[in-house]
């Protein structure tokens, strides 16, 4: 499992491969915070290759969303599979995040 970061225009796109869990969520957090510190404002996390997010992973997403917003930025999510979409609905986090079905839709939503 790993995170890859690339720029698409002025948007930082993070791909999460495998899982976002207690064992790796700090790595994701630090990578995004580093970009935020460099002055980036627009972030998209793409879960197309993600099978599982645990509650620690969710906690880090909430934390990042707040930190990005505090800096005047935006965080969008894309490509949650059905199970992950249900997880966000059960935890009511679907109301906190703007979630798109595809990466393209997410990119054009900024």
């Amino acid at each position: 499992m790993s995170f890859s970061i690339k720029k698409q225009g002025d948007i930082v796109v993070v791909d999460v491969e495998g899982q976002l869990i207690v064992g790796n969520r700090q790595e994701l957090k630090q990578k995004v915070l580093d970009e935020l510190e460099r002055g980036e404002k627009k972030f998209l996390i793409d879960f197309a290759q993600t099978g599982y997010i645990d509650s620690s992973g969710l906690g880090v997403l909430v934390s990042l969303s707040k930190k990005i917003r505090e800096q005047g930025g935006e965080l969008r999510l894309a490509n949650l599979n059905d199970d992950l979409r249900t997880l966000f609905e059960l935890t009511k986090l679907d109301t906190l995040f703007q979630i798109s079905d595809t990466r393209d839709r997410a990119l054009s939503s900024f």
Binding site: G59, S63, T95
Partner: protein
């Protein structure tokens, strides 16, 4: 076998993993020692290394990995409501918060606290991290009153609810209180609940807002849990004594035989339990929080080691998911 003996025996048969986040408190330590010796539950202390006891697992709240995980839980739940990372980190050092987070994560069956913390602190942590059970809107409480014989040759256990949490319940809240108390009675006492909504009036002998509220609550309970024996409004004597019920409410499904007494507000509930405790020499066990997703109980700060021991046994029984909940099947069918 007395109620307490039965309680201890049934809890011991399940041996649930129960957390004690007031690990430095001597009464808690006394209860934990006894629970371990008698095999009633698997007690686990949540605190600092200096609180350790021989033979008892201790979860160390100074473990940075655990604190970070607890902070994550808080961010999921409270972050959207305004909690910052820094606040979540500060809370994640609290044994009470850590214990409830571990129950939330399924690493323990329940939590017992309140000998040191205030009720407000215990209930706030439980609401944050554990929250109400599915389809329950109201967290409430009950006392299990172990009363001397009054209508047969033997003593009985009566459920008094709510005597500690909801000050002036609406009709919907009263219905929640009744259904939660009935569900918990099945787990804790192990008999068939018969629910009476108490009032100064029996079946229309009086009029007023409180009676309308009680009747609306009774209708809601009948709709949500039609298999539950329930009636109201009833006066205390009509609820408890056959001869009075025969006169005042002859066709009542619970009259004279009620074992769950639902009070119209906190004043009447709290006054009633204390009077029965003092005047009738009843043993009052509680308040037991009801309606939570997982059991988490609040002790009185005046609790003895024996009180903590008994509340731990009740907490273990509340963790039994296989027991009927009364509410879920009905609400699933009606889609509410």
């Amino acid at each position: 076998m007395t109620f307490l003996e039965s309680l201890h025996e049934r809890a011991a048969s399940q041996r649930r993993r129960i957390l004690f986040p007031e690990a430095g408190d001597p009464r808690t330590k006394g209860a934990v020692r006894e629970l371990l010796l008698r095999g009633i539950v698997e007690p686990v202390l949540v605190g600092m290394q200096q609180d350790a006891m021989p033979g008892v697992e201790l979860i160390d709240v100074s473990d940075p990995l655990l604190s970070a995980e607890v902070a994550d839980q808080l961010m999921v739940i409270r972050g959207p409501k305004g909690m910052t990372d820094e606040e979540a980190e500060a809370h994640s050092a609290s044994p009470l918060i850590v214990a409830d987070a571990l129950v939330r994560l399924g690493r323990a069956d329940g939590c017992v606290a309140g000998a040191v913390h205030t009720s407000a602190e215990v209930i706030r942590a439980a609401l944050w991290l554990i929250g109400p059970a599915d389809r329950v809107r109201t967290i409430s409480s009950a006392f299990y009153m172990d009363v001397p014989a009054f209508r047969s040759a033997v003593g009985e256990v009566l459920t008094f609810t709510d005597c500690a949490v909801v000050r002036r319940p609406t009709a919907g809240q009263l219905a929640d209180i009744a259904i939660s108390a009935a569900s918990d009675r099945i787990r804790i006492v192990g008999d068939v609940p018969r629910v009476a909504f108490l009032s100064f009036s029996t079946r229309g002998s009086g009029k007023g807002e409180s009676i309308e509220r009680i009747r609306a609550a009774v209708s809601e309970v009948r709709m949500l849990a039609p298999e539950l024996a329930v009636d109201g409004e009833l006066q205390g004597d009509a609820a408890l004594i056959d001869a009075v019920a025969a006169q005042k409410a002859p066709d009542s499904p619970v009259g004279g035989r009620a074992n769950v007494l639902v009070f119209p507000d906190l004043d009447s509930g709290n006054i009633a339990y204390k009077l029965v405790q003092r005047l009738a020499s009843a043993r009052a066990i509680g308040p037991i929080l009801q309606g939570m997703r997982h059991p988490c109980n609040d002790l009185s700060r005046g609790a003895s080691a024996e009180d903590i021991f008994n509340v731990a046994a009740i907490t273990a029984l509340q963790a039994d998911d296989s027991a009927a909940t009364l509410l879920n099947p009905i609400r699933q069918e009606t889609g509410t």
